[in-house]
Structure formats: structure tokens, C-alpha cells
């Protein structure tokens, strides 16, 4: 369909005339919302579309790009480092989602049901790590787990009676749990806040009605509380998923940009960064960014299936 110009539409009939007139009448509206669409088009949409094209080329950002078809995608799926990055990302995604959402839910439930004073204080205090930059949190954690000055080793030394100088950050087995711990620490308060708000929105009468019907404590939780909280749990899990697949700051800073011993902390986000800004393989990196996009979409759908949310 060709876009009708103002004057042609006027000639074409009463309907088009009204559309043109109505658009002119609402010119203020288009002017007001234009900044969003101009900025988003330029800095949001255009790069995403361009990334799709660049993904089929071999390009270093300076010399002319060379069309290579699906080579970049083939190179990605056959690269053992990609497999490792995907595995690490999924490890951290599942670990951080389960730990964060689970701990936040239990804490929110306990705070809502049992805590006697200082509830708003609690909600605030758990939010503190969210205010610190992830890069700074990674620095704090790296000191916490450092070999000679780390509080963790000091605590273990105190408990065991021997001086423990374990190299946590160099170990391939512990680096991912430490990253998960970091994410959980940082985001616990966010999920907690959502869950507390959700729990408080459940009407008390529902619980009373369930009790009158003879339901015990556990049954009330399983039949009333949990089902009503599912949409919020879904929101939590989804935001955790989107965050986990774009994870970058924590592993990057924790390993000083190296990916860790034996690339044990290499995730998709750090692999993308390395491909683009260390190796200057813009085509390959663009393809990788689209692969990440697809993975995020897939796992968001998986989330909604797992939690059986009917939106």
C-alpha cells in the first residue's frame, strides 16, 4: 500500500479526507511522541536490524564487509567455547533463578506471616546490594573470596583451626557458584519486595474460608497462597532469565576480563564482548547476539510453560 499524501487523500473520498483531517488535528500528538520513536528507531531498532545483516558478513568494523552467508552461525555452533559459554550461562541462569526466587519467596512468606516488627526496614535492607554497581559487588566479592585477605578463608581457618588459603576465584568448580551467590545477593531484595507486595494483596478472607473448609496450614499454602502467587513468580523468573542471559558485569569483573581459569566463567555476554571488542570480529559477534536473542526468547517461553501461566 502506498502512503496517501495529504492532498491526494482529500481527492480520494470522504473516508480518507477524515483520516487526513484527523491526523492534522492530532499533529500535537505526533510531535509529542516523535522523540521516542526517533531515538528508539536510531539507537534501538536500527542496530538490531543491522546486526541481523552484519551477522552474515565477515567484518572488522574498518575494512569493507564480506558476505559469508551462514558461515558465522556455523562457526558459532561448532566453536567449543560457545558450547562452554552456553553451558555456563544455563548453569548460572538456573542456579541464580532457583536460589534467588526460592530464597526470596521463603523469606517473603516468613516475613509476611511471622515477623513481628520492622517489616519495612527489612524490605529496605535487603535492597541495599541492588544499589551498588554489579562491578563494585564483583570487587567486594573478589576480596571476600580472596586467597590471603578473604573473610571466607579466614572463617574457614577459624572453624577448622588450620590456616586455609584456598584459591576460590582460580578454581573452576567454585567460580560459577560464587557468581550465582553474587546475583542472588544483589537481586534478593528486588524479588522479596515483589513477593511481599503480592502476599499482602491476597485477601485474608480467602485463608479464613480455606480454614473453615478444613484445610491445614500446608494445604492453605499449596491451594491458596502458591497459585495466587504464580503470576508474580513468573514475572520474577522471567526477569531473572532475561538478566542471566545478558549477564556480563559480574563474571567480567570477577575474572578481570579473562573468563576465568579454563574459561569456567565465560558466559554468552562476555563471549560477545570478547568477540567484538578484543578480536574485532563484528560479523561473528552480531550473529552471536542474534543467537542470544533467540535463546532468551526460547527460555522465556520455557519459563511460562514450566509455570503454566495463562496470561
Amino acid at each position: 500500500m502506498t502512503a496517501p499524501r495529504g492532498d491526494t487523500s482529500r481527492a480520494a473520498g470522504p473516508n480518507r479526507d477524515t483520516l487526513g483531517a484527523r491526523m492534522r488535528e492530532h499533529s500535537t500528538f505526533y510531535l509529542m511522541v516523535a522523540p521516542f520513536f526517533v531515538l528508539f528507531g536510531l539507537f534501538g531498532l536500527a542496530p538490531i536490524v543491522a546486526a541481523f545483516w552484519i551477522g552474515f558478513t565477515d567484518w572488522d568494523g574498518l575494512n569493507p564487509a564480506r558476505f559469508v552467508g551462514l558461515d558465522n552461525y556455523a562457526a558459532i555452533v561448532t566453536d567449543p567455547l560457545f558450547g562452554k559459554a552456553v553451558a555456563n550461562t544455563i548453569y548460572i541462569w538456573i542456579g541464580s533463578t532457583v536460589v534467588t526466587v526460592g530464597a526470596a519467596f521463603v523469606l517473603a512468606y516468613l516475613i509476611n506471616e511471622y515477623v513481628m516488627w520492622g517489616r519495612s526496614f527489612l524490605r529496605m535492607v535487603f535492597l541495599l546490594p541492588l544499589l551498588a554497581a554489579p562491578a563494585v559487588i564483583a570487587i567486594i566479592m573478589s576480596v571476600l573470596f580472596s586467597t590471603n585477605a578473604g573473610l571466607v578463608n579466614a572463617f574457614l581457618s577459624f572453624v577448622t583451626g588450620d590456616r586455609v588459603t584456598y584459591e576460590w576465584l582460580a578454581s573452576t568448580g567454585w567460580i560459577k557458584p560464587i557468581i550465582i551467590l553474587m546475583i542472588a545477593w544483589r537481586f534478593l531484595g528486588f524479588h522479596l519486595l515483589l513477593f511481599v507486595a503480592g502476599l499482602q494483596s491476597i485477601p485474608r478472607e480467602l485463608y479464613d474460608a480455606a480454614r473453615v473448609d478444613g484445610a491445614g496450614g500446608w494445604q492453605v499454602f499449596a491451594r491458596v497462597t502458591f497459585p495466587l502467587m504464580l503470576p508474580i513468580i513468573f514475572f520474577s523468573a522471567t526477569s531473572s532469565t532475561v538478566g542471566a542471559f545478558q549477564l556480563f558485569d559480574e563474571p567480567f569483573v570477577l575474572t578481570n576480563g579473562s573468563g576465568g581459569t579454563d574459561q569456567a566463567a565465560e558466559v554468552l555476554g562476555t563471549m560477545l564482548y570478547r568477540t567484538a571488542f578484543n578480536d574485532f570480529r563484528f560479523g561473528l559477534a552480531s550473529a552471536l547476539s542474534w543467537v542470544m536473542f533467540a535463546l532468551i526468547a526460547v527460555f522465556t517461553i520455557v519459563n511460562s510453560r514450566l509455570l503454566r501461566v495463562r496470561v
Binding site: P47, F126, F235, D249
Partner: protein
Amino acid sequence: MSTTGAPVARRVITAWIYLIVLVFVLPFYWMVVLATHDNDSIYSFPPPLLPGGSLGANWSRLTEVVEVVRAMGNSILVASAHTVLVLLLSSLVGFGFSRFRSAPGARWMWRVVLATIFIPGLVGLIPWYVLIARLGWIDTLWPLIIPGAANGFAVFWMRQIITQTVPVDLYDAARIDGASDWRTYWTVVLPLIRPGLGALGIWTFMATWTAFQIPLIVLNSQENFTLPLALANLNTLYGQDTAAVMLGSVISVLPIFVAFLLAAKQFMAGLTAGALKG
């Protein structure tokens, strides 16, 4: 207040939760402890558990290797400018969508705004970088201020707030008084939605203050670094000077903690807005 649980159980659980809180904030406390000790006592065993007296010495070593005051200036500049821009743009666009629902195309344009919320930012990263380079913005603060100003979530939120707080009668009254829609936005809408602007503002400020990846990609010279970048750089180059690194971390966290304590209510309103009002 809820009534489940025997009084004893409630007391025990409350105590446990406050114990968890202690462990939870321990890293921050420990950061302060290390920032006030010299490196010898940090690396000795057992480690110090109370604040020490080396704050001044750590500060002079820190400022020798990293321009921490300058980095903080950059962070304040970037976060303030970006926040003001997001507030103005999203409230104006939100007002447009709230006020003119019958404009042709308004409905699908709104759907586009909503769709932008769910697009992960990383997807266009490489062309975005190329664009920034073509604009001559590499190693400047502009890419941290301008591009992110079109924020779908902020627009969505502002439209909700404007629709909820501004009665339609006010628009009619303003029109009768001869005020243009722009004037109405500036003199009627903006003052009414001040609490919403406060919540969005503090949230945006914090997100900008803590950003790391984009500054890492676009900034090259130390003098332009924002605080997280300056600190990560410090940690890479002078990581063995734990005291100085921890002092830098304290400095980066402190302003935002203070802001949070002053405006906790707005902040929490901002966090729940996405999940519960959607």
C-alpha cells in the same frame, strides 16, 4: 497484621531473619572495615573486624592512582543528565499517549512502545557501537546520556501515572482557558505527577550510576571513566592494594545509599510498578 503461628515460633523466626540480615549486610560492613585499615593488617591473620585508622593514608594512595573525584564527577554528570532527559521525554510521550487516544495510529504505536520493553538491549550492541563511532561519540559521555533516553518501560509507566492522576476535566478546563496542549503538559501535568517522576527519577539515576558494560565499551581514557569503570580498572591494575580498592568501593556506594535512605518510598514504588501495575 497476620495472625498465623504461635507466639514462640514467631519470635524464633523473627530472630532468625534478623540474623540473616546481619550476614546479608556483612560484606558492606567489611568493605568499610578494610577501607580504614592498612594492607598489612588486612593480610594478617586473624583479619581486622573493627574499623581502623588508616582512612587518610588509603585515600591519598587511592587518589594517586585513580582520579576518583573526577570519576565521581563524570558519574554524577552522566546520571543527572540522563535522568532529566528520561523524565522529560517519557512524561511528554506518556502524556501524548494518555491524552490523545483517538489519534490515528495511536493504538499500534502504543503496542510498539510496549514491545520495545521486551527487546534485550544486547542484540544490537555491535551496530550500536559502530553508530556511536560514526557520530564521533567514542570516549565521550554522550552515548551514556542520549541513546537510552527512549525507554519503553519509562513511557509505559508515565502513561499509567498520568492516566491515573490527572482528571480529564482538568484538560477541558485548561483548553477553555486557552492553554495549548504543550502548556497543559508543562503547567498542569508535570506538577501533578511529581511523585511518579521522583520514583522514575531515582530508579533511572541508580541504573545509570551502576552501569558498567556500555561505559566499558565507549570510554577509553581514564579522565572520562565513570566510577564503576574507574574502580574495575583500579582492581585490575592495583588489585593487591585491597585497602584502596575497598575505599573506592565505599565511595561509589555511599552517595546512592544516602539517596536511597532519603527516598526509599519512591524507590520501592518504582520497583513494584512494573510487576504489579502491568
